[in-house]
Amino acid sequence: MATFPRPLVLRALLALALLVAPTAVGPARADETCNSPYMANLIKGQEDYLYVWTLGKAGVGDGSDKLVTIDANPSSPRYGKVIHKVSVGGRGEAHHMGFTDDRRFLWAGGLDDSKIVVFDVGTDPAKPRIARRITDMPKRTGYVGPHTFYALPGRMLVQGLSNAKDKGGVTGMALYSNKGELITTYAMPTADGGDGYGYDIAINPQKNALLTSSFTGWNNYMTSLGKLVQDAEAMKRFGGTMVVWDLKAMKPRKVLAVPGAPLEIRWSLKDGDTWAITAAALTSKLWLVRPGASSEWEAKEVATIGDPAKIPLPVDISIRNDGTGLWVNTFMDGKTRYFDLTNPEQPRQTYEKVTGKQVNMISQSWDGTRVYVSSSLLASWDKAGADDEQFVRAFKWDGKELSPAFEVDFYREKLGRAHHMKFGTRAAKAAYQAPLAGTR
């Protein structure tokens, strides 16, 4: 793993900012309020488990990427403890995950090896197991770096970050059946202002709208930051667009200019709302996407996150279930910030707290009273030395203050780098599983 003294990282990020080309980043949809609208069984009460897709690190445990299960139910005697882990063998830059629509399976991807591991979390939610692996995505689709896993009914839409030909940022989406069979692919648009880049996916079924955002390709996200910023040509290869797609037709409808690497996309879940919000990593801005007065989709800069000159580097965001608030993690300063979204045209930061020396992903419970923060961004972008904390920290949120609930030190537990988090529950079980086993 490449490591950098923090000043060098900071200089590098500033250079990136000046080039108005994005930078490091790696977050994605995290929590119960940010799942696909097609997903069943949202956990609106107490979550039982926290699944953490964890990057392996040489010399730490078995060194492999793994799915870690933490007991997240305060009523459990094992609350806050690691209760299970499944190693996938090898390191492939574990990054993001997504449930299938029935919440029985959890798809997880590696940005480096482009492998997808499908975990069965339905049979025994406390003990996920590997159900299948998809190892031929580059060969079958031409895309590499499976990033976002977005449930459609009976299918999984996977956003690539790069392509197998030149490993640049031009990429596309791959549509799989829930059984892991490739159905088709959709290229990101390169005409009418499109840069061809991809990052996140978010759907508003009521508007027949699918939104995508843009980051950069394998050549850049797998390159150490210090080396990358000295390559002027490479620095031009970052995304600065979002695309509104006709969901039914799966055709680009409009390309929106959103400079600075727009990353996570969150639709307001409030009935009647038709807006989405995103954070541009490099420019440290919040952008609002909604239909304008003429019903044409528009993107508008609506707020600044911290001091852009200091490159706080907003990464993951998490929206409240009623669309009135937004958590924003900023990697460089380790802050968890809360924005009042009562007026989405004018978000206001009302709270901030340093929750780690580096923070990336953030997940909240459906009611917003529990907040989870993890530490890792990308293996080659995480901080070095004492700043390289690797953890999951749980907090209680009373609307005024984040109070620590529990913490798992991922290095002390010999797990690796904690990245994406998803919730699990034991509240339901398959109705007809027992008869198959002849027990009913």
Binding site: Y38, P153, T184, P205, Q206, N208, A249
Partner: protein, 232 residues
């Protein structure tokens, strides 16, 4: 076909306005009609419905208690199939599927050519309770409506399981403390659009189950079959 599409658009304008009127006492099922989409669906034939998977094989039971191969009702016509259980009281579950099917049935009656080319299939995933007699009661007047709407069940859970697995239809039971099953069945509502070859071409769930979208997709498959799709 263009003429038919124009009529279809006209007919759909009234689809969501008339609630079904059947006197079988299922209040949840007979609630207000499903919501209309907050968008204009793309015109039939201007987009592609992907081949998602082949409908599974299996055996079902009709209203007369006779065994039938599932393929008999998933091939030969454009088929809209949904799993339900008659005791379902979740307005956004089985009753919604029923109301959407009813709206599509209305379109089948109004749009020339649809009645003979489209089949509706309501299949129970609760074989212990939903016997053929119960399904007949559930069907009510629909069975005599003059459209091809099949109400089916299965002989047993063993016969049902391959169908659930094949379609990817989850059915769950809420778990009480200690993991014991408690409460009614729950499931994620899915409606499957199947082409005449028996290939699933679209799957709808509650978040995207609009009659006008379903009918546009049916017409898209019809155009495709006639070799008149305008997709690239």
């Amino acid at each position: 076909m263009r003429h038919r599409l124009a009529i279809g658009a006209w007919a759909l304008a009234g689809l969501a306005l008339a609630a079904p009127a059947f006197g079988h006492g299922d209040e949840a099922r007979d609630q207000a009609p499903p919501a209309r989409a907050d968008f204009v669906p793309p015109a039939p034939g201007t987009y592609t419905l992907q081949a998602i998977m082949r409908a599974p094989a299996g055996t079902v039971v009709d209203l007369d208690g006779r065994d039938r191969r599932l393929a008999e009702v998933t091939t030969g016509k454009i088929t809209l199939l949904s799993f339900v259980y008659t005791r379902c009281s979740d307005a956004w579950g089985c009753p919604l599927a029923y109301r959407v099917f009813d709206a599509v049935a209305t379109a089948m009656e109004r749009i020339p050519g649809l009645r003979s080319r489209v089949r509706l299939v309501t299949l129970s995933f609760d074989p212990r309770h939903d016997t053929p007699a119960v399904m007949r009661q559930y069907a009510g007047e629909q069975a005599a409506r003059g459209i091809d709407w099949r109400f089916l069940t299965t002989r047993s859970e063993r016969a049902l399981l391959p169908l659930l697995e094949g379609f990817g239809q989850d059915v769950q039971i809420p778990a009480a403390a200690g993991g014991a099953a408690a409460g009614p069945l729950t499931h994620l509502l899915k409606v499957f659009l199947i082409d005449p070859r028996g290939v699933v071409r679209e799957i709808y769930s509650t978040a995207y189950l609009y009659p006008e979208v379903v009918v546009a997709d049916i017409e898209t498959l019809g155009l495709e079959r006639a070799g008149r799709s305008t997709t690239p």
